[in-house]
């Protein structure tokens, strides 16, 4: 008895199909198969996740993936999805798991914020004619600079990270994504003058050559953390929380812990890699302070230390505490941020949007006169360059992106990362799938994407009469809300369109 119906239907145009079997060989979910005659290609659509690998590879465009058309008695509360999830749990007794990010239709504030442009009273600036600066520095800043009698700089600046774009690649561990995917990001970061992030997976020896473009993460499992690792990265990121799953840890199933993953993480092959929900040496802000300063001490104060938290209800007060605890960079990850695996209920119900968290935190740090001393990095689903411009105008120094470069590498948002069967060679450790992703080709697609966004950011800056991203940061007058309530406008610290 099938209590659930498939989500998708595979439509094969038999007039076009040449029975080449490419779809059979490509589908790791084993949807396509040859009939007993060895010629006719059939499909078990119940396994289809709509990753489109088969459609993309089919030489004759014979395959279409359609929504499975099954009528349910109308009920706006007990939707087919709700029923399906209940049936899954009734069958297994398990926690529902998902990959990628919150897919529920919560408000996306980026789409309710509009940008300004210059007209008459000040001229817009043409980025093709004038220099347009998007160089960004991250790191702790002193409150002021001091000079000696000869006008020479007396103040010694804490370590600063120079980025040639305000866009960095956020944490995705080797383990959650493949070596080839991580290598593509590392290569792209190098070419773009920005950084990729190792996540909690350690740094693979073959990526050592990219260490000047790496952020090394220290998370609750402390996988792969040793002195050399800490010293490899441009900055160290303590991961307290993640937007996709605030309040819980991580779980890399043993079957994904291959020899290479085991080496990078420094754990036995085949053992589950469990990152506990909290760091078991951080039960308070003063404990966090100790870890921050231990890491600084361990790296001779040459590396900025970042702290990443999930955007949750009380994030303003938390971030203020983290800044005072000594973090040089604070990363906030909104509830639309991605993940390799998260319990569905947590992914879809815990945390708050990055737009509101960022606005509130930036304001709070300014009210406390400490905004200028730390760098703020926003994460949690930046879909395009306009989202990024809006985030910087709300107050971010830089942003982290992850889903977007994955899409550039082939991800179709099928949200099955946790299954380890990624047909695009991204979220998998299966050698036959990993080799489908060629870093030499994919890094270039990622570079193209960020280059394009950089150009668009410059166009928007010029339109606003700005020629440096420094003048956009926190410049909320450049933003107007559309269709937002008074309360939302108040939290975002912006006026409504027409005001």
């Amino acid at each position: 008895m099938n209590y659930t119906v498939p989500e998708f239907e595979v439509e094969r145009n038999i007039n076009r199909c040449i029975s080449c079997g490419a779809c059979v060989r490509q589908c790791s979910y084993e949807v396509h198969y040859f009939d007993d005659d060895g010629k006719t290609v059939l499909a078990d659509e119940s396994k289809c996740v709509a990753c489109h690998r088969c459609a993309a590879i089919c030489p004759t465009r014979a395959i279409k993936i359609k929504k499975y058309d099954m009528a349910y008695k109308e009920h706006s509360n007990w939707t087919p999805v709700m029923q399906k999830e209940i049936n899954l749990q009734a069958a297994t007794g398990g926690v529902l798991l998902s990959g990628m990010s919150n897919n529920k239709p919560y408000p996306i504030y980026w789409d309710k914020i509009l940008l300004n442009a210059s007209q008459v009273t000040n001229p817009s600036i043409d980025p093709l004619r004038e220099p347009m600066e998007i160089r960004t520095f991250l790191g702790r800043k002193p409150e002021k600079l001091e000079f000696n009698e000869n006008g020479e700089l007396k103040t010694k600046l804490p370590p600063q990270i120079q980025l040639e774009t305000p866009i960095m690649f956020s944490a995705m561990s080797f383990g959650s994504i493949s070596f080839n995917a991580q290598k593509s990001l590392a290569m792209a970061a190098k070419e773009l003058g920005t950084l990729f992030n190792t996540g909690e997976g350690g740094l693979h020896p073959k990526l050592e050559e990219f260490k000047d473009y790496a952020v090394v993460q220290v998370a609750s499992g402390r996988f792969g953390v040793h002195k050399g690792y800490l010293e490899s990265g441009r900055f160290i990121e303590i991961k307290i929380g993640q937007g996709a799953k605030p309040g819980i840890g991580g779980h890399l199933p043993g079957e994904k812990v291959t020899v290479e993953v085991s080496n990078a993480r420094m754990i036995p092959v085949g053992s589950d890699a469990i990152s506990p929900a909290p760091h078991h040496d951080i039960y308070s802000i003063e404990d966090l302070r100790q870890l921050i300063w231990s890491l600084k001490e361990a790296t001779q104060y040459k590396k900025p230390v970042a702290v990443k938290i999930a955007a949750v209800h009380n994030c303003s007060a938390i971030v203020s505490g983290v800044a005072r605890a000594g973090a040089d960079i604070i990363v906030m990850d909104g509830f639309r941020g991605g993940t390799g695996a998260a319990p569905t209920r947590i992914r879809d119900n815990v945390g708050i949007p990055i737009e509101l968290a960022l606005a509130a935190v930036d304001k709070r740090l300014r009210d406390e006169s400490i905004r200028n001393t730390v760098s703020l990095v926003a994460a949690g689903s930046f879909r395009n360059s306009a989202d990024i411009v809006k985030a910087i105008a709300l107050g971010a120094d830089a942003v982290y992106v992850a889903s977007a470069p994955l899409i550039a590498m082939g991800c179709h948002m099928c949200q099955q990362c946790h299954s380890g069967k990624c047909n695009w060679g991204i979220a998998t450790q299966r050698p036959d799938l990993v080799k489908r992703l060629n870093p030499e080709i994919m890094y270039k697609r990622v570079v193209n994407l960020i280059d394009a966004w950089n150009h668009e950011i410059k166009e928007m800056l010029g339109g606003m009469g700005l020629n440096s991203i420094d003048s956009l940061r926190g410049n909320r007058l450049m933003l107007r809300g559309i269709g937002l309530t008074e309360k939302e406008l108040e939290i975002l610290g912006i006026s409504h369109a027409g005001e």
Partner: protein, 364 residues
Amino acid sequence: MLLREGEVRIPSGCAISAITDTSGERFSGTDIIESIALMHDRSNGLGGGFAAYGIYPEFKDLYAFHIFYDDNDARVKTEEFLFKHYDIEYFEQIPTRKTKSIEKAPLIWRYFGAVPNSKMKKNDYDDDEYTAKCVIRVNNEIKGAYIFSSGKNMGAFKAVGYPEDVGEYYMLDGYKAHTWTAHGRFPTNTPGWWGGAHPFTLLDWSIVHNGEISSYDANRRFVEQFGYRCNLQTDTEVITYLFDLLVRRQGLKLDMSASILAAPEWTVIDNMPQKEKELYTALRTVYSSCLINGPFSILVGSKHGLLALNDRLKLRSLITAKKGSKIYFASEESAIRIICPEPEEIKAVEGGVPVFIPFAEVKD
């Protein structure tokens, strides 16, 4: 109903002009009025003003407060405050001349006072900080009162009207200063509040500005972290606070502060010798939110001297000329030639390159 300056942000175009005598010789306001009057079409009658340095030699060590009052009640309350917080040596109504186009004048008074020793013992900050706090307090808390000038041996004079009429109204031909700056305003809205005219001042800072800065909110939100309140929502106000913060409170040199506001481009910094590169990188990194963006030309008066600064793309005109010991600045060359037909040298101020004229010892 139209909102008053400070309740709404009003972009405006402008004319600016300045004359300084590097020998410290003082001269009347006749020339500066003539210069700014030539640029009549750059203003629209909704604001004009002047700042003059060296005008009060007899009170040169006292703070000179110029105050607008909406009514007598505001004056009584403000005087109560001033007499409590300062040893006022002299005060009077600022003399004015009936001028046809100047209407709806508020009450305009001036006070000369010193910070009492007894007050300073209680505080751990200096006279300037004390005075800045007092000025901000009066302007924020006493309804109908607005201190529009608070420096020593200097004063601002401003009104709603064309600048040449404002000069006539305040009888500036009768004052002698070693440095004059002037401003004619073209706001794109008409609140008609005298306090909204320029120059904007704080202590001995006075700023006249032509342009509209698109970095305004980034600058405002930065400087407000240091206790300033940008109540007027004008560019000049925020620029004044940036200079006050960097120079007076943080002790940076004026020219270095100018290099923060109109910072060299990264491509230029990248090619500097190592030491210089480090310095400018540090300035841009630490003070990135002080970068002023968009078209501007400003003339900044202070006890240090007169500073002229153009935006780094040179999106606004600003000309300088020299003859004898006098140095001239104006939005248009004609505004210099009208009072100095044959300068020895005349050129455009370069984008992003500050021109600083230190004040000489003033000749009384």
